[in-house]
Structures are given as structure tokens and as C-alpha cells.
């Protein structure tokens, strides 16, 4: 897939940093403000989609990007189930909130909920990027 003109590439280089930081903010403050893992993951996938649309396949081919997205999706899923099983081994119940709860309305509070939000954000971002690649970028072989 071809990239776009030089002006689009320069502006995209500036803007995807801001989009990524905004998605990370929505993920990390999931226990204080609306949003959380799923909404932040969608915004992070948006940053990757904009980068792929502006640069095309010049930076890395579609197959390599698809394999990398699949690896990150598996990492997100394993992290989420790892936190749940860690609750089983350290405290006795599956998915128990075993970290200290802290003071309410601070960033370091609510036990394991921020880490679960981060795992969901990674998985949703990688999954949506793979859906975009499968629908729009990978060429299909025509059957005769």
C-alpha cells in the first residue's frame, strides 16, 4: 500500500505522539474517570492506523506488522489471566484484589484495577489494529 505526500507524513509524525499519550492517560485513569481499558485501547489503535495510512508499506510490510500485533495481543491476554491467577496463589481466591487499596481518588489506589486496565488496553489496541490490517491492507488472492 502506497504512502501519502510529504506534508501528510510530517504532520503525522508530530500528531501520533499526542494521540498515544492521550490514549495512555485514558487507560491509566480508568478507576477515577470514565473510560478505562477498552476506550483507551481504541484510541491507541487509532494512532497506529493513522501511522499506517500515512506511511504505507514503506516502513514495514503488512505481514510483519500483522505478526507483531498478534504477539502483543497474546501478551495482553496472558497478563490479564496472570494477574487473576496471582490472586489465586497469593491470597486464596481467584481474581481477589490483593494489592493495597490506598486512599480513594488518588492515582495509586484500587488494588489490581489499573493493571487490569493496562492489560485490556494492550489487547484491544493490538486486536483492533489487526482487524484494520485484515480488512484494508492485506491483498487477497483472487480464486479463478
Amino acid at each position: 500500500m502506497k504512502g501519502m505526500s510529504l506534508i501528510v507524513k510530517t504532520i503525522t509524525n508530530i500528531i501520533i505522539g499526542f494521540i498515544f499519550i492521550y490514549g495512555l492517560y485514558i487507560i491509566l485513569h480508568g478507576h477515577l474517570t470514565p473510560g478505562g481499558g477498552f476506550a483507551g485501547g481504541v484510541i491507541i489503535a487509532g494512532a497506529f492506523v493513522v501511522r499506517f495510512l500515512a506511511f504505507g508499506s514503506e516502513m514495514s510490510s503488512e505481514k510483519k506488522l500483522s505478526k507483531t500485533a498478534s504477539v502483543f495481543e497474546s501478551i495482553g491476554g496472558l497478563l490479564f489471566i496472570g494477574i487473576a491467577i496471582l490472586g489465586l496463589f497469593l491470597a486464596g481466591t481467584f481474581f481477589l484484589n490483593f494489592l493495597p487499596k490506598g486512599t480513594p481518588l488518588h492515582l495509586w489506589s484500587a488494588g489490581i484495577i489499573p493493571f487490569c486496565n493496562i492489560a485490556i488496553g494492550i489487547k484491544v489496541g493490538a486486536g483492533l489494529f489487526s482487524i484494520f490490517l485484515a480488512l484494508a491492507a492485506i491483498k487477497y488472492v483472487m480464486e479463478e
Binding site: P34, L105, L135, E143
Partner: protein
């Protein structure tokens, strides 16, 4: 009462698009309209009069909140709608690659 009736009207518009149209993409848009109307109706059921959004921002809690449980269920329903829409569009792409048309009146040769 009028809000619930307009959600049902949106559902009927989506149903009309699925049943009547001949283009495959318009049928997919009809499915999306049906999913939007059902999610909206379900989230509107938890409304309480003179109540705030269910987010705690200070430690002395105000007295009335809107019901947050339908909002949590609708979040899951939106994710499910995303998955089924992606799968439906992939099947439509495969049909286009095979028959070179989006018209359902011409896709009738079932080959093995």
C-alpha cells in the same frame, strides 16, 4: 415515554434497511442501526430524575446517582457489536472477491 418510542422507531428503520435493500453494504448498515437502537434503549432505562452521573469525584457523596449497571452492560454489548460487524464485513469482502458485485440478486450461483 417519547424517548423509548423513538428508540423503537430507530429499530424499525434498521429492520426496513435489512429487509428491503439489495446492496450488501446497506444491509450491514441496517444491522448497525439495530444494534445502536438496542444499546440506547438499554442505557436510557437507568435514568432517575434530578440525579448526577455515577462518578465519585469528592469524598462526601451526593445523594442521588443514575443507575450505573445498565451502562456497564451496554459497554459489553458495544464490544460484541464491534466483533460481529467486523466478521460480517470480512464475509462481504470475500463475496465481492468471488462474484465481483454487491447486488444480492446476482449472487445466486452456489458452486461447490
Amino acid at each position: 415515554m417519547i424517548i423509548f418510542a423513538s428508540c423503537i422507531i430507530l429499530f424499525l428503520i434498521g429492520l426496513y434497511a435489512i429487509v428491503t435493500k439489495r446492496n450488501l453494504i446497506k444491509i450491514a448498515i441496517g444491522f448497525a442501526l439495530i444494534e445502536y437502537s438496542v444499546n440506547l434503549l438499554f442505557a436510557l432505562i437507568g435514568f432517575r430524575r434530578d440525579a448526577l452521573a455515577p462518578i465519585i469525584t469528592q469524598l462526601n457523596v451526593p445523594h442521588k446517582f443514575v443507575d450505573p449497571i445498565p451502562q456497564a452492560l451496554v459497554l459489553t454489548a458495544i464490544v460484541i457489536a464491534l466483533g460481529t460487524t467486523a466478521l460480517m464485513l470480512t464475509v462481504i469482502l470475500r463475496i465481492y472477491n468471488r462474484y465481483k458485485t454487491f447486488d444480492i440478486a446476482e449472487i445466486k450461483k452456489l458452486r461447490g
